[in-house]
């Protein structure tokens, strides 16, 4: 029998939502935390808390070891060339903004092109609008096809010798589609463009090997990976990091400061000004350990099965419109849909009454909503801790929505 991983998550065991068992299907927004992560945070504050890198006493040495140990763990996990390619940030948004302002602003010139996909999250979209405007470059879009995919023709048509940067999500946060990164990187190399990969929605569900993918930058958020809020990671190739300006000026990132000049440290320290979030790094380390204890094969196995089961349930309802691919091949467990005649916000309010948490709205992807020709969608997003029972409750609740709005006889 399969293990029920919900047992590892206190909030799933204990919480009720409107008096019902919590059915949490908003994992693409943020994930719940296993007891091992919550305990790692408590243990850190109860035994090892200090400002790292600065103190010559055991507590500070321990905090430093924990912080740098987490960096090494992330480097191994992503298969970076070394821990110096891993910078801690507060999340994906900060990481991507930093690449835009400190890398792109230096290499993009007037007339150049920045290429992103129409399915990007605002965090991997607005920063590029800003760079394009500041530099007189043009921001171009890769459009997804009817199944939500980026075709080879589209890549061929849009990637040109003027392309300087290609920024795409590994997995779309609305459609769950896995983008063809190998092909994108292959073409990028031919034209000399840098590739910025948003792995916020892929890393929780699949192995990401950054050296194999050969991207220039990658970013993710801890809170979507079962780790605490307030911590994230930017990966950057050494050759780029060594040329970039710091992110924040302050303590911990300087070699020497005189009244008018400052000499900065090398990567990764030059990019980590201010007291760093050791708690977050420790929590992220614990989350990666927890996930790797389960293994991606098991995670993917469970999530694919659940995903098929959800699709089956949804397609059984004649009023459901599903966006993107309907089979789990090339897709993680993110399902966007609408119910005929019903606004997504009413759907989520009605589901909430049954204890079911899904997201409705534009999912920080306005341009994609317009491309799909909708105002908003409902989104259910899965984790390996979900169960078939969760899905049964969800599908049952969906079936009642139109009745609540008197669109069907009871």
């Amino acid at each position: 029998m399969q293990r029920n991983y919900a047992e590892d998550f206190p909030i799933l065991k204990n919480s009720t939502s409107n008096g019902k068992r919590l059915v949490y299907l908003d994992n693409a927004a943020t994930t719940q935390k296993p007891a091992s992560v919550i305990n790692a945070i408590r243990d850190y504050y109860e035994s090892s808390n200090a400002n790292p890198h600065r103190g010559a006493y055991p507590l500070s040495e321990r905090a430093t070891e924990l912080y740098e140990g987490a960096r090494q763990r992330v480097a191994d996990f992503l298969n970076a060339a070394g821990p110096d390619e891993i910078l801690f940030t507060k999340g994906t948004t900060e990481a991507l903004n930093f690449v835009a302002s400190s890398f792109a602003m230096d290499i993009v010139n007037e007339g150049d092109e920045i290429l992103i996909s129409i399915a990007e999250h605002h965090s991997n979209l607005i920063p590029w609008q800003m760079v394009a405007k500041a530099k007189g470059a043009s921001l171009k879009y890769l459009y997804t096809d009817a199944k939500g995919e980026l075709t080879e023709e589209e890549l061929d048509a849009k990637i040109s010798p003027r392309t300087k940067i290609i920024a795409v999500a590994h997995v779309s946060n609305v459609l769950g589609i896995v983008n063809p990164i190998e092909k994108i990187v292959g073409r990028a190399r031919q034209v000399g463009a840098a590739v910025v990969l948003d792995i916020a929605q892929s890393l929780p569900h699949m192995k990401v090997d950054l050296q194999a993918l050969d991207v220039d930058f990658a970013a993710f958020s801890g809170h979507k990976l079962y780790a605490p809020m307030g911590i994230g990671v930017l990966y950057g190739k050494r050759q780029h990091l060594s040329k970039m300006r710091p992110m924040l000026y302050g303590g911990g990132m300087v070699e020497d400061v005189s009244q008018q000049e400052a000499v900065f440290l090398e990567a990764p320290y030059t990019f980590e000004g201010g007291t760093q979030n050791v708690e977050g790094a420790v929590g992220l380390h614990a989350a990666i350990d927890y996930l790797m204890g389960i293994g991606y094969d098991e995670i993917k196995g469970i999530e694919d099965e659940l995903s098929l089961y959800v699709v089956e349930g949804l397609l059984n309802n004649p009023h459901v419109i599903l966006y993107g691919n309907s089979h789990p091949h090339n897709r993680t467990g993110i399902l966007s849909f609408n119910i005929e005649g019903v606004h997504p916000h009413d759907v989520s309010t009605i589901l909430a009454a049954d204890g079911v948490a899904i997201r409705s709205g534009h999912h920080c992807a306005h341009p994609l909503m317009r491309h799909l020709g909708v105002n908003a969608t409902c989104r259910a997003s899965l984790s390996f801790y979900n169960t078939k029972e969760d899905i049964d409750i969800f599908i049952e609740s969906i079936s009642k929505v139109r009745r609540w709005l008197r669109l069907e006889s009871k």
């Binding site: 309010t349 009454a353 008197r406």
Partner: protein, 145 residues
């Protein structure tokens, strides 16, 4: 939360009713209202003569709450003076933000008082309030001749 108190007959009826949902040719004021985070969007049209709302209608789309709230509001304000309509908007806002909950005090809202329970759904308050805010904005600079 009890859905029976949210998606009531009367709200469901108003949310799909076409009675007030049409353009108003002779409108003297026309104002767009929206909740960008939801995609609720209405265009409120008012025909105001001598400080009185002679006619009102709307077009647009959005969730059941926002559409029902708009339709109920229009039923209520038709024939009222601008001042009375603004006082009702004030009362509606007080109800939805739980500053007033006494039934007798809410009586002037008539059917729109059915939205009182939305006050328990923080994420949906803005849907219910949106048409009323649009009404306030539309009549703000209305010269009271």
């Amino acid at each position: 939360m009890n859905l029976n108190e949210i998606y009531t007959e009367i709200i469901a009826e108003h949310s799909t009713s076409s009675r007030n949902r049409h353009p108003l040719e002779e409108a003297s004021i026309k104002l767009e209202g929206k909740n960008p985070s939801c995609g609720d969007e209405i265009v409120l049209e008012l025909l105001i003569k001598e400080e009185r709302i002679e006619d009102a209608a709307f077009t647009g789309s959005g969730c059941a709450i926002s559409q029902a709230s708009t339709s109920m509001m229009i039923d209520l304000i038709k024939g009222k003076t601008v001042m009375e309509a603004r006082q009702l908007a004030e009362l509606f806002s007080a109800m939805i933000h739980k500053r007033v909950s006494d039934e007798s005090q809410l009586a002037p809202l008539e059917e729109a008082a059915a939205l009182q329970n939305i006050s328990n759904l923080p994420a949906r308050v803005k849907c219910a309030v949106m048409p009323w805010r649009t009404l306030e904005a539309a009549t703000e600079k209305q010269p009271l001749e």
